[in-house]
């Protein structure tokens, strides 16, 4: 039983939604879902529904933000008004500013920005429905959208959160687990090197718990990576048929 008196994991190690500790929610990714964008992806993980679109490389506005040696990546993470329990007022808030920033930084790790001096690569993440884990879902979708746009990248970034609830280290908390949980550790890696490119943590974790969360997260990122690649494979073969 957790601090809050709510049982999240039963005696057999099963979670309320029937998952084991190391299991992520069902993930569905579809690449190339939008006509206008240069690249796009739709992703569901559990009850999260996310769209990502890429425009660029294109001219960077305003000009004073241009970098003469490489492209900049400008990600905008946005929760749509009806995506959450209470209506979210349209417009940027502090949370979305922070998430946009760390996702942009993670993507800069893999995109060959040096190929496009002065340009901007614009990544738009829209959360249609939110159920814990939207920043990782958004980054995972954005990576697929970048690949769909044909942007040269060293690797494709998967992301997932691990966390702690009811005293257990668990992968990919859903909303109920997150609300009553004790910690959350969103992360993203470069699959080819296992380097961590996005990492946040809040809550309360001992060293052993945190090490376990990282171990679980890295392993799960590889699973997410396979799903990303599969979506791109389907996209390319669909394109071949067109």
């Amino acid at each position: 039983m957790s601090e809050n008196g709510i049982t999240m994991v039963d005696e057999n190690g099963m979670r309320l939604d029937g998952r084991t500790a190391e299991e992520h929610r069902p993930i569905k990714i579809e690449a190339g879902v939008l006509k206008n964008a240069d690249g796009s992806a739709y992703l569901e993980i559990g009850k999260n529904k996310v769209l990502a679109a890429v425009y660029g490389p294109r001219e960077c506005h305003p000009r004073h933000m241009q970098n003469p040696t490489r492209a900049i990546i400008q990600c905008k993470y946005n929760m749509q008004a009806y995506s959450v329990g209470d209506r979210k007022r349209p417009g940027t808030d502090r949370r979305s500013t922070e998430i946009s920033k760390i996702i942009s930084e993670a993507l800069e790790n893999v995109v060959l920005t040096e190929l496009y001096p002065r340009a901007s690569i614009d990544v738009y993440i829209e959360i249609l429905q939110a159920n814990a884990g939207t920043r990782c879902a958004g980054l995972t979708a954005a990576s697929v959208a970048l690949a769909d746009a044909g942007i040269p990248m060293r690797d494709i970034i998967p992301a997932i959160a691990s966390g702690k609830a009811d005293g257990h280290v668990l992968l990919d908390l859903n909303k109920e687990e997150d609300n009553f949980g004790e910690a959350d550790v969103p992360m993203a890696i470069v699959p080819g090197t296992d380097e961590i490119v996005l990492l946040q943590m809040d809550g309360h974790m001992t060293r052993e718990e945190f090490d376990r969360a990282i171990e679980m997260g890295v392993a799960a990122c590889h699973e997410v990576s396979d799903i990303q690649k599969d979506a791109l494979r389907r996209r390319y073969s669909a394109e071949g048929c067109e």
Binding site: L34, N36, A81, P90, N131
Partner: protein, 257 residues
């Protein structure tokens, strides 16, 4: 070749086609693109719909929240409509506060719903003078290939028709369907040269001299109109638009079911 030259060539091509009675995508002048309406897509919303009209795609979601009524209508619910032309939907859309285009879109959709009295506002009173349901209709353009007016109207209307008043969430009893009455259907015509076409796609909208959006009810009565663009329209052309709006409105109403 510069963008302007490409755009000029494309324009001439479209005008030549229209002169022959044809549209670039093969439609008749009074023909809508294929329409699909998917409701209940967003479970976090109290009503939602995704509408595809050719390559144009919009999502509308409804959130209902208890709030305070206006002093001059103490027993009536409140509605508010927003439209976001997010940069995901088109290269020309920018982040930031709503552009004049987004404001106009939201207000035209709002007027259609408000003036047709589609939502039974009296049914949204919780306690007279104290608490009523506030309905927030939020529309997001997902892919913009023209005629966001009709797609947005349709998405909003479909979301409202399948909406649930979230009584339980706010401890007000059992959830119940939102009561709607009239269904306003919006039909948009564009004038290109001397031709009138319905449901203009992006390219057609781009070269049109003006645009007329007409919302009709089940009886073919008019509930809202909005002319856009700097071109003029004669009274005779207006009459033909109104005929078209009534006829096409019926067809779309049938799709809604």
């Amino acid at each position: 070749m510069s963008n302007e030259i490409i755009s000029e060539i494309r324009r001439d091509h479209l005008l030549n086609l229209l002169a022959k009675g044809e549209r670039a995508d093969g439609r008749a002048f009074d023909e809508f693109r294929p329409i699909t309406v998917e409701t209940g897509f967003i479970e976090s919303a109290d009503g939602s719909a995704r509408v595809r009209m050719g390559d144009t795609e919009v999502i509308a979601g409804l959130k209902m929240i208890p709030g305070t009524p206006y002093p001059d209508a103490p027993a009536s619910g409140v509605m508010s409509t927003g439209a976001e032309l997010i940069p995901l939907a088109h290269a020309s859309f920018e982040s930031g506060p709503p552009s004049p285009d987004a404001v106009e879109l939201a207000r035209v959709v709002d007027r259609g719903i408000r003036e047709s009295k589609m939502i039974d506002m009296d049914d949204l009173c919780i306690e007279e003078g104290k608490e009523v349901w506030m309905c927030f209709i939020d529309i997001y353009a997902i892919n913009h290939d023209g005629n966001l007016f009709d797609a947005s109207n349709l998405a909003a209307v479909a979301a409202l028709r399948t909406a649930t008043v979230p009584m339980e969430q706010y401890g007000k009893g059992e959830d119940r369907p939102l009561k709607t009455t009239c269904v306003p259907i919006s039909v948009t015509m564009a004038k290109i040269g001397n031709d009138l076409i319905v449901d203009p796609n992006f390219d057609e909208g781009h070269i049109a001299s003006c645009r007329l959006t007409v919302a009709t009810d089940e009886n073919g009565d008019f509930r809202a109109m909005q002319k856009g663009g700097s071109g003029g329209i004669t009274v005779a052309e207006l009459g033909r638009c109104l005929d078209m709006a009534v006829e096409k409105g019926r067809e779309i109403r049938d799709i809604l079911g």
